[in-house]
Protein backbone atom coordinates (compact mmCIF):
# COMPACT_ATOMS: atom_id res chain seq x y z
CA UNK A 1 0.00 0.00 0.00
CA UNK A 2 2.84 2.36 0.89
CA UNK A 3 4.33 1.90 -2.56
CA UNK A 4 1.02 2.83 -4.20
CA UNK A 5 0.78 5.98 -2.10
CA UNK A 6 4.37 6.84 -3.02
CA UNK A 7 3.62 6.46 -6.74
CA UNK A 8 0.65 8.75 -6.27
CA UNK A 9 2.42 11.49 -4.34
CA UNK A 10 5.54 11.68 -6.51
CA UNK A 11 3.45 13.29 -9.25
CA UNK A 12 2.37 16.05 -6.91
CA UNK A 13 5.76 17.58 -6.14
CA UNK A 14 8.92 15.54 -6.75
CA UNK A 15 8.21 14.78 -10.40
CA UNK A 16 5.32 17.14 -11.04
CA UNK A 17 4.75 17.59 -14.76
CA UNK A 18 5.23 19.90 -16.60
CA UNK A 19 7.44 21.79 -14.14
CA UNK A 20 9.89 19.01 -13.19
CA UNK A 21 9.64 16.75 -16.20
CA UNK A 22 9.53 19.37 -18.93
CA UNK A 23 6.92 17.46 -20.92
CA UNK A 24 3.50 18.34 -22.23
CA UNK A 25 4.32 21.99 -22.69
CA UNK A 26 1.98 22.76 -25.58
CA UNK A 27 -1.33 22.45 -23.73
CA UNK A 28 0.35 23.95 -20.67
CA UNK A 29 1.15 27.13 -22.54
CA UNK A 30 -1.77 27.29 -24.93
CA UNK A 31 -4.85 26.85 -22.77
CA UNK A 32 -3.75 28.59 -19.59
CA UNK A 33 -5.19 31.99 -20.42
CA UNK A 34 -7.61 31.44 -17.54
CA UNK A 35 -7.54 29.25 -14.44
CA UNK A 36 -10.80 27.57 -15.46
CA UNK A 37 -9.37 26.40 -18.78
CA UNK A 38 -6.37 25.00 -16.93
CA UNK A 39 -8.64 22.90 -14.70
CA UNK A 40 -10.64 21.63 -17.70
CA UNK A 41 -7.57 20.67 -19.70
CA UNK A 42 -5.92 19.12 -16.65
CA UNK A 43 -8.92 16.95 -15.80
CA UNK A 44 -9.34 15.82 -19.42
CA UNK A 45 -5.67 14.83 -19.50
CA UNK A 46 -5.95 13.10 -16.12
CA UNK A 47 -8.85 10.99 -17.37
CA UNK A 48 -6.91 9.89 -20.45
CA UNK A 49 -3.75 9.29 -18.41
CA UNK A 50 -5.45 7.10 -15.78
CA UNK A 51 -7.42 5.07 -18.35
CA UNK A 52 -4.46 4.55 -20.67
CA UNK A 53 -2.19 3.57 -17.77
CA UNK A 54 -4.83 1.08 -16.63
CA UNK A 55 -5.28 -0.56 -20.04
CA UNK A 56 -1.58 -0.57 -20.87
CA UNK A 57 -0.58 -2.12 -17.55
CA UNK A 58 -3.21 -4.84 -18.09
CA UNK A 59 -1.93 -5.51 -21.60
CA UNK A 60 1.74 -5.03 -20.80
CA UNK A 61 2.63 -8.70 -21.30
CA UNK A 62 0.50 -9.08 -24.40
CA UNK A 63 2.00 -6.16 -26.37
CA UNK A 64 5.08 -7.14 -28.41
CA UNK A 65 8.10 -4.96 -27.63
CA UNK A 66 8.65 -3.85 -31.22
CA UNK A 67 5.26 -2.31 -31.86
CA UNK A 68 4.62 -1.11 -28.33
CA UNK A 69 4.70 2.63 -29.15
CA UNK A 70 2.09 2.22 -31.88
CA UNK A 71 -0.02 0.08 -29.56
CA UNK A 72 0.22 2.67 -26.76
CA UNK A 73 -0.79 5.42 -29.15
CA UNK A 74 -3.88 3.51 -30.28
CA UNK A 75 -4.96 3.02 -26.66
CA UNK A 76 -4.35 6.69 -25.84
CA UNK A 77 -6.07 7.93 -29.00
CA UNK A 78 -9.19 5.87 -28.23
CA UNK A 79 -9.56 7.54 -24.84
CA UNK A 80 -8.90 10.95 -26.37
CA UNK A 81 -11.77 10.38 -28.79
CA UNK A 82 -13.99 9.45 -25.84
CA UNK A 83 -13.03 12.66 -24.03
CA UNK A 84 -13.51 14.68 -27.21
CA UNK A 85 -17.05 13.36 -27.78
CA UNK A 86 -17.98 13.70 -24.09
CA UNK A 87 -16.81 17.31 -23.94
CA UNK A 88 -18.59 18.12 -27.17
CA UNK A 89 -21.79 16.76 -25.66
CA UNK A 90 -21.64 18.07 -22.09
CA UNK A 91 -19.11 20.93 -21.89
CA UNK A 92 -19.52 22.64 -25.25
CA UNK A 93 -18.22 26.14 -24.29
CA UNK A 94 -15.03 24.62 -22.82
CA UNK A 95 -14.73 22.38 -25.88
CA UNK A 96 -14.80 25.51 -28.06
CA UNK A 97 -12.14 27.27 -26.00
CA UNK A 98 -9.72 24.34 -25.82
CA UNK A 99 -10.20 23.78 -29.56
CA UNK A 100 -7.52 21.78 -31.31
CA UNK A 101 -5.76 21.09 -28.04
CA UNK A 102 -8.30 18.40 -27.18
CA UNK A 103 -7.32 16.11 -30.08
CA UNK A 104 -3.74 17.09 -29.29
CA UNK A 105 -4.00 15.40 -25.86
CA UNK A 106 -3.06 12.29 -27.80
CA UNK A 107 0.41 13.70 -28.47
CA UNK A 108 0.92 15.01 -24.94
CA UNK A 109 4.33 13.53 -24.15
CA UNK A 110 3.40 13.04 -20.49
CA UNK A 111 0.85 10.36 -21.36
CA UNK A 112 3.07 8.40 -23.73
CA UNK A 113 5.98 9.00 -21.36
CA UNK A 114 4.13 7.45 -18.39
CA UNK A 115 2.94 4.55 -20.56
CA UNK A 116 6.48 3.81 -21.68
CA UNK A 117 8.31 4.53 -18.42
CA UNK A 118 5.79 3.23 -15.90
CA UNK A 119 2.62 1.45 -16.96
CA UNK A 120 4.41 -0.94 -19.34
CA UNK A 121 6.55 -2.20 -16.45
CA UNK A 122 4.24 -2.14 -13.44
CA UNK A 123 1.05 -3.82 -12.30
CA UNK A 124 -2.40 -2.30 -12.39
CA UNK A 125 -2.74 -0.61 -9.01
CA UNK A 126 0.57 1.32 -8.99
CA UNK A 127 -0.08 2.32 -12.61
CA UNK A 128 -3.44 3.85 -11.73
CA UNK A 129 -1.85 5.65 -8.76
CA UNK A 130 0.94 6.92 -10.99
CA UNK A 131 -1.51 8.15 -13.61
CA UNK A 132 -3.75 9.80 -11.03
CA UNK A 133 -0.83 11.51 -9.27
CA UNK A 134 0.76 12.74 -12.48
CA UNK A 135 -2.61 13.87 -13.82
CA UNK A 136 -3.49 15.81 -10.67
CA UNK A 137 0.00 17.31 -10.59
CA UNK A 138 -0.51 18.39 -14.19
CA UNK A 139 -3.93 19.84 -13.35
CA UNK A 140 -2.45 21.72 -10.40
CA UNK A 141 0.35 23.16 -12.52
CA UNK A 142 -2.02 24.24 -15.27
CA UNK A 143 -4.39 25.82 -12.78
CA UNK A 144 -1.52 27.70 -11.12
CA UNK A 145 -0.18 28.97 -14.42
CA UNK A 146 -3.69 29.85 -15.59
CA UNK A 147 -4.42 31.69 -12.34
CA UNK A 148 -1.22 33.74 -12.57
CA UNK A 149 -1.81 34.66 -16.21
CA UNK A 150 -5.48 35.43 -15.62
CA UNK A 151 -4.63 37.54 -12.58
CA UNK A 152 -2.02 39.63 -14.37
CA UNK A 153 -3.65 39.65 -17.78
CA UNK A 154 -7.23 40.23 -16.76
CA UNK A 155 -7.24 41.09 -13.05
CA UNK A 156 -9.42 38.09 -12.21
CA UNK A 157 -9.03 34.54 -10.88
CA UNK A 158 -11.69 31.99 -11.89
CA UNK A 159 -13.61 34.97 -13.28
CA UNK A 160 -13.74 36.80 -9.91
CA UNK A 161 -12.21 40.25 -9.68
CA UNK A 162 -9.41 40.29 -7.13
CA UNK A 163 -7.20 43.18 -8.17
CA UNK A 164 -7.81 46.73 -6.98
CA UNK A 165 -9.97 49.16 -8.95
CA UNK A 166 -7.25 51.10 -10.74
CA UNK A 167 -5.30 47.97 -11.76
CA UNK A 168 -4.41 48.07 -15.48
CA UNK A 169 -4.16 44.46 -16.76
CA UNK A 170 -1.07 43.44 -18.77
CA UNK A 171 -2.67 42.17 -21.98
CA UNK A 172 0.61 40.57 -22.95
CA UNK A 173 0.21 37.92 -20.24
CA UNK A 174 -2.65 36.38 -22.23
CA UNK A 175 -0.55 36.27 -25.41
CA UNK A 176 2.24 33.76 -26.24
CA UNK A 177 5.16 35.81 -24.81
CA UNK A 178 3.38 36.01 -21.45
CA UNK A 179 2.90 32.24 -21.42
CA UNK A 180 6.54 31.48 -22.13
CA UNK A 181 7.97 34.01 -19.70
CA UNK A 182 5.58 32.95 -16.93
CA UNK A 183 6.49 29.27 -17.28
CA UNK A 184 10.20 30.17 -17.46
CA UNK A 185 10.03 32.14 -14.23
CA UNK A 186 8.06 29.38 -12.44
CA UNK A 187 10.66 26.79 -13.50
CA UNK A 188 13.53 28.95 -12.28
CA UNK A 189 11.70 29.56 -8.99
CA UNK A 190 11.29 25.80 -8.52
CA UNK A 191 14.99 25.26 -9.29
CA UNK A 192 15.85 27.94 -6.75
CA UNK A 193 13.66 26.32 -4.06
CA UNK A 194 15.20 22.91 -4.76
CA UNK A 195 18.74 24.25 -4.58
CA UNK A 196 17.93 25.94 -1.25
CA UNK A 197 16.51 22.66 0.07
CA UNK A 198 19.64 20.79 -1.04
CA UNK A 199 22.05 23.22 0.61
CA UNK A 200 20.27 22.91 3.96
Amino acid sequence: MGAVVREFTKGLWKEVPPFRLVLGLCPTLAVTTAAKNGVGMGLATTFVLVCSNLIISILRNAIPKKVRIAAFIVVIASFVVIVELMMQAYFYPLYKILGIFIPLIVVNCIILGRAEAFASKNSVLPSIADGLGMGLGFTMSLTLLGAIRELLGNGTVFGIHVMWESFRPFGIMLKPPGAFICLGLILSLMNWISSKQRSH
Binding site: V22, L23, G24, L25, C26, L29, A30, I69, A70, I73, V74, A77, S78, V80, V81, E84, L85, I100, P103, L104, V106, V107, N108, C109, L112, I172, K175, P176, P177, G178, A179, F180, I181, L183, G184, L185, L187, S188, L189, N191, W192, S195
Partner: protein, 192 residues
Protein backbone atom coordinates in the same frame (compact mmCIF):
# COMPACT_ATOMS: atom_id res chain seq x y z
CA UNK B 1 -0.88 33.69 -56.68
CA UNK B 2 -1.04 36.45 -54.08
CA UNK B 3 -3.35 34.18 -52.10
CA UNK B 4 -0.56 31.61 -51.75
CA UNK B 5 1.99 34.27 -50.95
CA UNK B 6 -0.22 35.55 -48.14
CA UNK B 7 -0.70 32.00 -46.87
CA UNK B 8 3.06 31.50 -46.76
CA UNK B 9 3.82 34.79 -45.02
CA UNK B 10 1.01 34.17 -42.56
CA UNK B 11 2.18 30.63 -41.74
CA UNK B 12 5.86 31.53 -41.36
CA UNK B 13 5.68 34.87 -39.57
CA UNK B 14 2.27 35.95 -38.39
CA UNK B 15 0.92 32.63 -37.15
CA UNK B 16 4.24 30.90 -36.58
CA UNK B 17 3.24 27.48 -35.24
CA UNK B 18 5.56 27.61 -32.27
CA UNK B 19 5.69 31.28 -31.36
CA UNK B 20 2.03 32.15 -31.95
CA UNK B 21 0.20 28.83 -31.81
CA UNK B 22 2.24 26.98 -29.15
CA UNK B 23 2.66 23.78 -31.13
CA UNK B 24 5.68 21.52 -30.75
CA UNK B 25 7.30 22.90 -27.62
CA UNK B 26 8.96 19.81 -26.15
CA UNK B 27 11.34 19.04 -29.03
CA UNK B 28 11.72 22.78 -29.54
CA UNK B 29 13.35 23.13 -26.14
CA UNK B 30 14.93 19.68 -26.23
CA UNK B 31 16.90 20.02 -29.45
CA UNK B 32 17.84 23.68 -29.30
CA UNK B 33 21.10 23.25 -27.41
CA UNK B 34 23.35 22.43 -30.37
CA UNK B 35 23.16 23.79 -33.88
CA UNK B 36 23.73 20.50 -35.74
CA UNK B 37 20.94 18.75 -33.82
CA UNK B 38 18.67 21.72 -34.35
CA UNK B 39 19.17 21.85 -38.11
CA UNK B 40 18.68 18.09 -38.32
CA UNK B 41 15.50 18.32 -36.31
CA UNK B 42 14.30 21.26 -38.41
CA UNK B 43 14.79 19.31 -41.63
CA UNK B 44 13.11 16.22 -40.21
CA UNK B 45 10.15 18.33 -39.09
CA UNK B 46 9.76 20.01 -42.50
CA UNK B 47 9.84 16.64 -44.20
CA UNK B 48 7.47 14.88 -41.79
CA UNK B 49 4.94 17.72 -41.49
CA UNK B 50 4.63 18.26 -45.24
CA UNK B 51 4.34 14.55 -45.96
CA UNK B 52 1.95 13.82 -43.09
CA UNK B 53 -0.36 16.75 -43.90
CA UNK B 54 -0.64 15.57 -47.49
CA UNK B 55 -1.37 12.02 -46.34
CA UNK B 56 -3.88 13.01 -43.67
CA UNK B 57 -5.69 15.25 -46.19
CA UNK B 58 -6.12 12.26 -48.49
CA UNK B 59 -7.26 10.08 -45.58
CA UNK B 60 -9.76 12.74 -44.50
CA UNK B 61 -11.22 13.38 -47.97
CA UNK B 62 -11.28 9.87 -49.40
CA UNK B 63 -11.70 7.60 -46.38
CA UNK B 64 -13.19 9.44 -43.41
CA UNK B 65 -15.62 11.74 -45.21
CA UNK B 66 -17.27 9.26 -47.61
CA UNK B 67 -17.83 6.75 -44.81
CA UNK B 68 -18.97 9.31 -42.20
CA UNK B 69 -16.13 8.41 -39.87
CA UNK B 70 -14.96 11.93 -39.08
CA UNK B 71 -15.22 11.30 -35.37
CA UNK B 72 -12.33 8.84 -35.76
CA UNK B 73 -10.13 11.63 -37.12
CA UNK B 74 -7.79 11.74 -34.15
CA UNK B 75 -7.07 8.00 -34.18
CA UNK B 76 -6.72 7.82 -37.96
CA UNK B 77 -4.39 10.82 -38.16
CA UNK B 78 -2.11 9.75 -35.35
CA UNK B 79 -1.77 6.26 -36.83
CA UNK B 80 -0.86 7.68 -40.22
CA UNK B 81 1.68 10.01 -38.62
CA UNK B 82 3.18 7.29 -36.41
CA UNK B 83 3.73 4.96 -39.35
CA UNK B 84 5.18 7.79 -41.44
CA UNK B 85 7.65 8.65 -38.71
CA UNK B 86 8.62 5.00 -38.46
CA UNK B 87 9.28 5.06 -42.20
CA UNK B 88 11.41 8.20 -42.00
CA UNK B 89 13.33 6.67 -39.12
CA UNK B 90 14.10 3.49 -41.06
CA UNK B 91 15.11 5.57 -44.08
CA UNK B 92 17.49 7.75 -42.06
CA UNK B 93 18.99 4.79 -40.23
CA UNK B 94 19.83 3.15 -43.55
CA UNK B 95 20.97 6.14 -45.60
CA UNK B 96 22.07 8.96 -43.23
CA UNK B 97 23.30 7.22 -40.05
CA UNK B 98 25.12 10.36 -38.86
CA UNK B 99 21.90 12.37 -38.73
CA UNK B 100 20.09 9.36 -37.27
CA UNK B 101 22.53 9.25 -34.35
CA UNK B 102 22.39 13.02 -33.86
CA UNK B 103 18.60 13.04 -33.62
CA UNK B 104 18.71 10.08 -31.23
CA UNK B 105 15.69 10.00 -29.00
CA UNK B 106 13.91 12.85 -30.74
CA UNK B 107 13.11 11.03 -33.95
CA UNK B 108 10.57 8.64 -32.45
CA UNK B 109 9.36 11.63 -30.45
CA UNK B 110 8.42 13.44 -33.67
CA UNK B 111 5.30 11.28 -33.41
CA UNK B 112 4.43 13.10 -30.22
CA UNK B 113 5.50 16.45 -31.63
CA UNK B 114 2.15 18.19 -31.48
CA UNK B 115 3.16 20.37 -34.42
CA UNK B 116 2.75 17.41 -36.76
CA UNK B 117 -0.77 16.46 -35.68
CA UNK B 118 -1.57 20.12 -35.04
CA UNK B 119 -0.83 21.25 -38.59
CA UNK B 120 -2.78 18.28 -39.98
CA UNK B 121 -5.82 19.11 -37.83
CA UNK B 122 -5.56 22.85 -38.54
CA UNK B 123 -5.51 22.39 -42.29
CA UNK B 124 -8.44 19.97 -42.21
CA UNK B 125 -10.40 22.30 -39.93
CA UNK B 126 -9.96 25.27 -42.26
CA UNK B 127 -11.15 23.19 -45.25
CA UNK B 128 -8.18 23.88 -47.49
CA UNK B 129 -7.69 22.37 -50.92
CA UNK B 130 -4.92 19.81 -51.41
CA UNK B 131 -2.42 22.28 -52.88
CA UNK B 132 -3.18 24.82 -50.17
CA UNK B 133 -2.69 22.18 -47.49
CA UNK B 134 0.70 21.32 -48.96
CA UNK B 135 1.75 24.98 -49.09
CA UNK B 136 0.43 25.66 -45.60
CA UNK B 137 2.15 22.61 -44.11
CA UNK B 138 5.45 23.38 -45.80
CA UNK B 139 5.41 27.05 -44.81
CA UNK B 140 4.39 26.26 -41.22
CA UNK B 141 7.18 23.76 -40.81
CA UNK B 142 9.70 26.13 -42.36
CA UNK B 143 8.56 28.70 -39.79
CA UNK B 144 9.10 26.10 -37.07
CA UNK B 145 12.57 25.28 -38.40
CA UNK B 146 13.46 28.94 -38.62
CA UNK B 147 12.38 29.64 -35.05
CA UNK B 148 14.31 26.56 -33.90
CA UNK B 149 17.52 27.70 -35.61
CA UNK B 150 17.20 31.25 -34.27
CA UNK B 151 16.62 29.99 -30.74
CA UNK B 152 19.56 27.59 -30.98
CA UNK B 153 21.85 30.40 -32.08
CA UNK B 154 20.87 32.44 -29.03
CA UNK B 155 21.08 29.50 -26.61
CA UNK B 156 24.52 28.50 -27.87
CA UNK B 157 25.75 32.00 -27.07
CA UNK B 158 24.06 32.17 -23.70
CA UNK B 159 25.40 28.74 -22.64
CA UNK B 160 28.83 30.25 -22.08
CA UNK B 161 27.58 33.38 -20.31
CA UNK B 162 27.53 33.77 -16.53
CA UNK B 163 23.90 33.01 -15.69
CA UNK B 164 22.45 32.37 -12.22
CA UNK B 165 22.34 28.63 -11.54
CA UNK B 166 18.57 28.37 -11.17
CA UNK B 167 17.95 30.07 -14.53
CA UNK B 168 20.24 27.76 -16.51
CA UNK B 169 18.81 25.42 -19.13
CA UNK B 170 15.06 25.27 -19.67
CA UNK B 171 13.99 28.38 -17.70
CA UNK B 172 16.31 30.65 -19.67
CA UNK B 173 15.32 28.83 -22.86
CA UNK B 174 11.67 29.61 -22.16
CA UNK B 175 12.40 33.26 -21.43
CA UNK B 176 14.37 33.49 -24.68
CA UNK B 177 11.38 31.98 -26.52
CA UNK B 178 9.19 34.59 -24.83
CA UNK B 179 11.36 37.39 -26.21
CA UNK B 180 11.32 35.78 -29.66
CA UNK B 181 7.53 35.51 -29.49
CA UNK B 182 7.39 39.16 -28.47
CA UNK B 183 9.42 40.07 -31.55
CA UNK B 184 7.16 37.96 -33.77
CA UNK B 185 4.12 39.69 -32.28
CA UNK B 186 5.28 42.62 -34.36
CA UNK B 187 4.11 40.74 -37.46
CA UNK B 188 0.56 40.49 -36.10
CA UNK B 189 -1.98 42.31 -38.21
CA UNK B 190 0.19 42.11 -41.32
CA UNK B 191 -2.03 39.40 -42.77
CA UNK B 192 -5.62 38.88 -41.75
Amino acid sequence: MSEYLLLIVSAIFVNNIILARYLGNCPFLGTSNRMDTATGMAMAVVFVITLSSATTWIVQEYILKPFDLEYLQTIAFILVIASLVQLVEMFLQKSIPGLYRALGIFLPLITTNCAVLGVAVLSVESHMSFIKTLVFAFASSVGYGMALVILTGIRERSATSPIPQHLRGTPLGLITVALLALAFLGFAGMVK
